[in-house]
Subunit: 395 residues, 2 copies
Amino acid sequence: MLSVWLVLVSCMDFLLYSSAEEGLEFPSFDGKDRVLNVNERNYKKALKKYDMMCLLFHEPLPSDKELQQQFHMREMVLEDRCTECILTESCDLCPLGLEEEGSIYVFKDERVIEFDGELSADTLVEFLLDLLEDPVELISNPMEQRAFERMDEDIRLIGYFKGENSEHYKAFQVTAEKFQPYVKFFATFDKGVAKQLTLKMNEIDFYEPFMDEPVTIPDKPNTEEEIVDFVNQHRRPTLRKLRAEDMFETWEDDMDGIHIVAFAEEEDPDGYEFLEILKEVARDNTKNPDLSIVWIDPDEFPLLTTYWEKTFKVDLFRPQIGVVNVTDADSVWLNMPNDEALPSAEELEDWIEDVLSGKVNTEDDDDDDDDDDDDDIDDDSSDEDHYGDDDDDDD
Amino acid sequence: MLSVWLVLVSCMDFLLYSSAEEGLEFPSFDGKDRVLNVNERNYKKALKKYDMMCLLFHEPLPSDKELQQQFHMREMVLEDRCTECILTESCDLCPLGLEEEGSIYVFKDERVIEFDGELSADTLVEFLLDLLEDPVELISNPMEQRAFERMDEDIRLIGYFKGENSEHYKAFQVTAEKFQPYVKFFATFDKGVAKQLTLKMNEIDFYEPFMDEPVTIPDKPNTEEEIVDFVNQHRRPTLRKLRAEDMFETWEDDMDGIHIVAFAEEEDPDGYEFLEILKEVARDNTKNPDLSIVWIDPDEFPLLTTYWEKTFKVDLFRPQIGVVNVTDADSVWLNMPNDEALPSAEELEDWIEDVLSGKVNTEDDDDDDDDDDDDDIDDDSSDEDHYGDDDDDDD
């Protein structure tokens, strides 16, 4: 399906900052034209010239004046931010396998990587910087191993190999490039680290987010194809965190048209507590292929918070879990009357079972007597808008 | 001093997003005019009308055409993002104590809070949302206590009180509002939590970032004035993380014109290891009032990474520590030839002593035979620009 996107890649922090202090200057547009218009005739030359290039694939310029203005602003941002951003009109580059108009593609070596994240300069530049990192990070000592163990939000693989020249390590490296920057690849050549991680020579472990125990890829040593297949099969976790860098991809990967969505601020005591309960539930149900909960930390999406509160009619200043229909954004939310009444892991599991069996769903209440879909779900927060409210919860 | 800022408050994620999936729509401008021009005549009325308002204090409109355009773009963003953003021309509002032209001020209840962070919509909106949270978070059980203990990047206070009606708790609450959102305030009414935190009734502990042990505010129960004084006295930590929400304030709080700056990605094994060493050094030197190290996680400032690499001539794909002169951004960096050669805590302490004694400084090399200031410090990374480089470190 062709989504027509007309987006303004964002964050125009043009900053003419004059101060006595130096060292924190955000970039401003330097007048250098970095955006090329690419078409069927010149794209091969462009691909040869740059090690990495970033391409915005868009439809012909709109005739509407306001849209044109937005388009030019987008172009300005690309000039400001990307080293080489290349725009193309219409479908000239379809031979490259570009399908989604309005999408951003990064060309690096032989790969074409679609950027399916938040269209802000921050997120896009971070994505490009991540692509420039080594595809495999080496873990060489216990402190680095601790760092590895702390990254429990990411899908991670770690392999134990003889050294950089090992052919199995090389297969692992090639595979890593294919999944960069979405799936993290680590390796160790250190016997002590391998022992701590219970890795045998040439063995690769796959860590699902938030799980304590990894799964070992069978039949070591593994070929590139085996690793790719294994990752693709195990890629949808039981609990996944929504990340700016691939938020749209995650959202499109729904389960039969719905998402179970949990909102929880990790930096908030209630949010943290709720998240720990959620992780417990995920660990207990990791074998269930029908379950994939999307955890959203509202702190990381300040520009969406108000939109979500209005759309879902929930109060995001406290934890929430619900079912969202991705077709119409209709939703139902678990009733949690106050902060002190978080559900236990068992109660949460019962509710999730009801969701998976269809007993709890977004449609049942649509023809109810209720005028408002959500009145019975989250009474005290519906229609609440945080902007401009009195901060009176604590009195 | 009056800094003249002409900034474009950023992140114009105007998004006309049309897709089969609903639930992740970034806000677009709805046509509603939310920016008021405030002047001496109407500001009192505006202050009365809104519970919270956000004000951009700027100089009269520039005559330069390009600057005018930037100004209008800034105005558009404010309309898009803030519920009530109010612009004022020239110095009409000086009676309110506004001094820095170009700054953003938030008016909430009786307080005027200067926003001195990154001028992006993300950061500004997050700041506004943080101001709407309860000024004091309650810690009611061991899980929430764990959440509290994990927030070691922030300055935190926690007090044990009898309950919401305690006059000492109320003094604590009033103080919390004064420091919101920069300093985090927590309280517990739970005996078990208090015991775990070794808090006696009406006692308040102050946690410096990254320190294991808190300091108790003397002479409990404490008045508002005592708490304010204590926080102000202890506010500059030995190790502080640069945060988007107050980055300019932190940078302006230099130590005799310099900053000791450490770059380390927490999500990177080497960065994590380096950070742990740094924390050890900070803990050993927490009594030294002359030491305050600014830790920057480059992951959190993607738009500044290239600028820093160019300005400081360092490779930010690995950990770095150096001294930066904030007047001219001249800098010297500790020589760390490769990832496997991180300094020990002792070596780092010796280097920091040399910095504090002036033996290592940014001026000595300026008249050397070297043409390039930093050749002798970090040979293999100077003048390196990650954009467009081959990703060949791992071959």
